[in-house]
């Protein structure tokens, strides 16, 4: 069964978002996404300072099988990337909502979060 934490937001391209207390948004790929990918062996993360549009390519995640793009789920500026994930990409499988986060973004408009999918909507979309 896919894990879909209730407190997070989701987008169709299988990234999750969490609004942190300091106003930045943490982004990762969902449990469902890592299940589809299989064992993650390499990640390419955006550059800190990059200004990304919604749905712009933000990085790459590669499993033993194939490479997939990671998209920016909300417009804003990248303020941090998870260097630990570059060193240990398997964390995207093991803790997709924890140590396996990808990057943090300062949203151009924090209200953009409101329009994104809730856990319930995401669960419905993936048939979980």
């Amino acid at each position: 069964m896919s894990q879909i934490p209730a407190e997070l937001k989701y987008v169709e391209s299988h990234e999750w978002l969490r609004l942190e207390a300091n106003g930045v948004v943490t982004v990762g790929i969902t449990h469902h996404a890592q299940e589809l990918l299989g064992d993650v062996v390499f990640v390419e993360l955006p550059k800190v300072g990059a200004v990304l549009a919604r749905d712009e390519q933000a990085g790459v995640v590669e499993s033993v099988k194939a490479a997939s793009d990671v998209y920016c789920p909300i417009a804003g500026e990248v303020v941090a990337v998870n260097e630990g994930l570059e060193a240990a990409p398997e964390q995207a499988n093991e803790e997709p909502y924890g140590e396996g986060w990808f990057f943090q973004i300062k949203p151009a408009n924090v209200a953009d979060l409101d329009g994104l999918w809730t856990a319930e909507q995401y669960a419905k979309e993936i048939g979980a």
């Binding site: 299989g38 390499f42 033993v64 194939a66």
Partner: protein, 372 residues
């Protein structure tokens, strides 16, 4: 392209084991089981993995003329292949291009047993029927499944079912009873590990597979790990690393050409494209297949362009990915011959960016064949 997919006799077992099924060479095949590609790969190198390779073609060539006849299609010594031995071979075309790679076993009593790739089997069988007509019978064994048991524990496991299996050495074969079923067993495989390939009557294949999977050392392994295992072992995948656009010399498969079939040998030539191969042996080739390691962590995959330090296009990747046992990305591809020396530093283009690679010896992990 919409033809219904074939199923192997193990289809129901794959579903029961929770396999993810994908279309492959006209068959619905397990790409992975719940264990996942990475762990399946590592398990095979640590203990033993069971693979369903029933999609491959199994053919018997029967008759006194079979060995001489088959020699007219491959640059390999078949006539002197001893009974109980298996040899790697290549079907070539009139340009020296590779039509398929195959395994040939001598079963004795004027019977050869041939295993060919799934995607090529119809074409291979037609090729043999066309060229071997009147010299031997070409009989496709549609009533047999094919399993591979690979890994350092394979011999211990198979010896529990048939002690004689442990006495075979690499590339030997025997007809053995396994779980009461008449099997063709060869000590060979496609992983670089010790192991066996087992031809079993289709109606008993699932039962034999269940018997093997019941052994503590054995896990079911899908095509995903089969590919990463063979890549680390430096073994070619037909249609990717070799095809009709590559000759055995360009494909760095000179080792597969028997000495007595090479120029100056007692049965030199006599196979399609022998003149091209002889000329390439004398004059050299413009491109060669090489292995490479990646100087970074990024997997370099099939289709990536290979350039020199000045950005000049000099080749292309034909297989590549993460090697779980090598613990890094590895690959193989064709480069202009002047760049083929081990240690040459080159670049592969990944998502528009140059990634440093180095031409390297294959296999990328030590072979562990059992040679007695």
């Amino acid at each position: 392209m919409n033809a219904p997919l074939n199923r192997t006799p193990l289809y129901d077992l794959h579903i029961k084991l929770g396999a993810k099924m994908v279309p492959f060479a006209g068959y619905e095949m397990p790409v992975q089981y719940p264990l996942g590609v990475l762990k399946e790969h590592l398990h095979t190198r640590a203990q033993a993995g069971l693979f369903d390779v029933s999609h491959m073609g199994q053919v018997k060539l029967i008759g006194k003329g079979a060995a001489a006849a088959l020699e007219s299609l491959v640059p390999v010594d078949i006539i002197d292949l001893p009974a109980g031995q298996q040899r790697y071979a290549l079907f070539t075309d009139e340009h020296g291009g590779i039509l398929d790679d195959l395994m040939v076993s001598n079963f004795g009593d004027d019977v050869l047993y041939v295993v060919v790739n799934a995607a090529c089997k119809e074409q291979d069988i037609a090729h043999m029927r066309r060229h071997l007509a009147g010299q031997c019978e070409v009989v496709e064994l549609t009533d047999r499944a094919l399993l591979a048991l690979q890994g350092p524990a394979a011999a211990t496991v198979l010896a529990r079912l048939a002690p004689a299996a442990a006495e075979l050495t690499f590339m030997q074969n025997a007809q053995l009873e396994l779980a009461g079923f008449a099997c063709y067993v060869s000590r060979s495989g496609y992983t670089g590990e010790d192991g066996y390939e087992i031809s079993v009557p289709s109606e008993h294949a699932a039962e034999l597979a269940r018997r093997l999977l019941a052994e503590a050392e054995v896990e079911a392994i899908g095509l995903g790990a089969r590919d990463s295992l063979r890549l680390e072992a430096g073994l070619c995948l037909y249609g990717h690393d070799i095809d009709t656009g590559t000759t055995p010399i360009e494909g760095s498969l000179l080792w597969a050409l028997s000495k007595n079939r090479r120029p100056g040998g007692e049965r030199a030539g006599g196979y399609p494209g022998a003149d091209v191969v002889a000329r390439q042996l004398a004059d050299g080739v413009a491109k060669k297949r090489v292995g490479f390691i990646v100087k970074d962590k990024v997997p370099v995959r099939e289709g990536a362009e290979i350039t020199d330090a000045n950005g000049k296009l000099i080749g292309q990747v034909t297989s590549g990915g993460f090697g779980p046992s090598f613990a890094g990305p590895v690959g193989m591809g064709y480069v202009a011959t002047e760049y083929a020396a081990v240690g040459t530093l080159l670049f592969a283009t990944v998502r528009g960016k140059p990634v440093a690679i180095e031409v390297a010896k294959t296999p990328f992990v030590p072979q562990r064949y059992y040679r007695g």
